[in-house]
């Protein structure tokens, strides 16, 4: 149970992380695209404004030559200084970069090209050393002069910085939200899976009437649940059919058999004097009894497997039960000159059906007594191992080849293919059904030589 939960927790975390990562990657991509688009649009705006100013200056140059343009530049610089704004940058120099007019002391060092757009660091305040980024366009005026027109793009830089800042915070919040959202979503999903799982567990423990509860969401999980429920309905119907058939076998086949037996018994009583026919009748009664006991065993296994007995579970003194079984079979072992050894841990109790547990152990011990040779030791032991009672019956008989160990639990399977030995081939099937009803397991191992049957029964019942 705990392990399953751990798995689900891990699964939840993994799902949430994956969800968050995918969400963040797509958001980041979106943010980058948005930043790039905005920044280039703002730069293009600045460039367009600069181009506009250049066109104005160019028009003056056409009319008034360099002097006219220089006058206009000087006027612009003056006006800007008067308004105490420092947005525009102008510089007109000779071909040898000697400044003629403008508000820039010298040609920027980074502007080595002859013409085109440049970006450079602008010293705004020589005292504080404050520098801004500036964007400008430079011209070579017929080889004699050089013109630079630009703008201080401090605001643009600031705006870009703000955008980056906003996007960074946005991403961080998004990451947290995505992870939280992912956890909530995946936990919801896992809870739905767990509900299906829980139902499956209680069905496996015998309550076939349980169904997966549906939600009003009508989602994929509900569809899975609905299909599962429909499948369970069908299985239940089939099981009920089988049960009805076995009940019919019980009545329609067992009843005439029982009557046959009654008549035979009657006939034997009537023919007490005639010892010959009494012997035949005795034999016929034994045959009828063996048929009936096979029927009974089959029906009993079917009822146990249907889990109909589990409601009668009580606390069983397993230690006492194993001792009783060993004591019960001890005279039989002695008669066959075998030694029945016991090693039973005292005080072990488990929830279960006392008679069924005894029957299972009796079947295993009877098998051992049947197959073990004279003078050999048959060891019956029981000890607590963690939350289980472990019952072991070990003999030194012929054993069971490993490849057949699974098959001996099947109904009517017999190692003796000629079927000449006694028994109906249902003993171990009954053992398995009884043990599984208690939530336990039966295993067969090699006893070097012989067979070791190990039954594990959980102490808490199922």
């Amino acid at each position: 149970m705990n392990n399953k939960f751990k798995f689900f927790r891990r699964y939840t975390a993994r799902l949430a992380l994956l969800y968050a990562l995918i969400f963040c990657a797509s958001t980041l991509f979106l943010f980058l695209f948005f930043y790039h688009f905005t920044a280039s649009a703002m730069t293009a705006q600045v460039d367009a404004t600069i181009d506009n100013e250049i066109n104005l200056l160019a028009a003056r140059y056409e009319r008034g030559g360099v002097e006219g343009m220089a006058q206009l530049i000087a006027a612009r610089v003056r006006r800007q200084q008067a308004q105490a704004t420092g947005e525009w940058i102008y510089l007109l120099t000779t071909a040898a970069f000697r400044p003629l007019v403008g508000n820039l002391n010298q040609w920027p060092r980074s502007a080595t090209a002859d013409a085109g757009r440049i970006e450079f660091d602008l010293l705004v305040d020589s005292n504080s050393g404050e520098r801004h980024l500036a964007r400008a366009r430079i011209f070579d005026l017929r080889g004699n002069y050089r013109l630079l027109v630009g703008q201080d793009v401090k605001q643009l830089t600031e705006a870009k910085r703000r955008i980056v800042q906003a996007l960074t915070w946005g991403s961080a919040i998004m990451l947290v939200l995505a992870f939280a959202g992912g956890s909530v979503m995946s936990r919801r999903a896992v809870r739905k899976i767990e509900r299906i799982n829980q139902t499956a567990r209680s069905i496996m423990s015998g309550d076939l009437s349980r169904r997966v509860p549906l939600t009003s969401d009508q989602d994929d999980f509900d569809q899975v649940a609905e299909n599962l429920n429909r499948m369970l309905d069908r299985i239940q119907r089939l099981m009920e059919d089988i049960r009805r058939v076995s009940d019919n076998i019980a009545h329609d086949l067992r009843t005439p058999l029982a009557r046959l037996r009654q008549r035979l018994e009657q006939a034997r009583r009537d023919s007490e004097s005639d010892s010959d026919s009494a012997g035949h009748l005795e034999h016929a009664i034994r045959e009828a009894d063996s048929l009936l006991s096979t029927f009974n065993a089959l029906l009993r296994i079917a009822r146990i497997e249907a889990g109909q007995v589990a409601s009668e579970f009580t606390v069983v003194d397993v230690s006492g039960l194993v001792r009783d079984a060993a004591e019960f079979y001890e005279p039989l072992a002695e008669e066959k000159r075998q030694v029945l050894e016991t090693a039973v841990e005292p005080g072990v109790e488990a929830r279960g059906d006392r008679d069924l547990m005894f029957q299972a152990l009796a079947n295993v011990i009877e098998n051992a007594l049947k197959y073990a040779p004279p003078q050999s030791v048959i060891r019956v032991s029981m000890a607590r191992l963690r939350a289980d009672a472990v019952l072991t019956v070990a003999d030194h008989g012929p054993g069971i080849p490993p490849e057949l160990r699974e098959r001996v639990f099947r109904r009517f399977f017999r190692l003796d293919q000629s079927r000449s030995s006694s028994g109906n081939g249902l003993g171990l099937s009954l053992v398995q059904a009884a043990v599984e009803l208690h939530g336990g397991t039966v295993e067969l191992e090699d006893n070097h030589p012989g067979l070791k049957v190990i039954i594990q029964l959980p102490l808490g019942g199922n």
Binding site: R254, E265, Q266, R268, E282, F328, Q359, A362, E366, G423
Partner: protein, 226 residues
Amino acid sequence: MRILIIEDDAATAAYIKKGLGEAGHAADIATRGDDGLHLAREENYHALIIDRMLPQLDGLSLIAKLRAAGDKTPALILSALGEVGERVAGLRAGGDDYLPKPFAFSELLARIEALTRRPTAAAPQTKLTVGDLEMDLLARAVTRGGKNIALQPREFRLLEYLMRHSNQVVTRTMLLENVWDYHFDPQTNVIDVHISRLRGKIDKHFDAPLLNTVRGAGYMLREQQV
């Protein structure tokens, strides 16, 4: 004894009636639950044999009604439902014994006879005697003809049960249920081995055997009629 058989299967009812007749008991048959209840109330029977699945009124309700009315006639329940849970339900409803179908007639007869004798052991007994075999329940000692016989605890319980039901047929299933207290089907003759062991202790060096095998039925402890 007068015995009422409440059983809807005519063949089984007739078979039981015939068998009881041979054993010297008179029997009436009712094929429906309500008829059975009516007869059981009107007439005075020594024992009732009741099938569980009956038309009109099922066997368990029938017994419950009788018991509610203060009728303590011993009742044996016959049923195809042989599981422990069903058996417990039958005994809780007020049945005195439960025999799963199919059954051997000898088993049914032995159980009916055991049921009708039960009330005699009302006063606590400290000593059981069958012929020259004596059992002191307080000292947990057994003697035969004055000679001490050492018994294992389980052998003691086996002999005690046989002595309490002396001159009665005791079946193997009855021994399993009452001496070992487990309801199960051994596939071997292990009960016979227990009996022969006990026989070796109480009968071996004596002339008249007390522990007899009843062919096709079980065992009986009785003093040999000479």
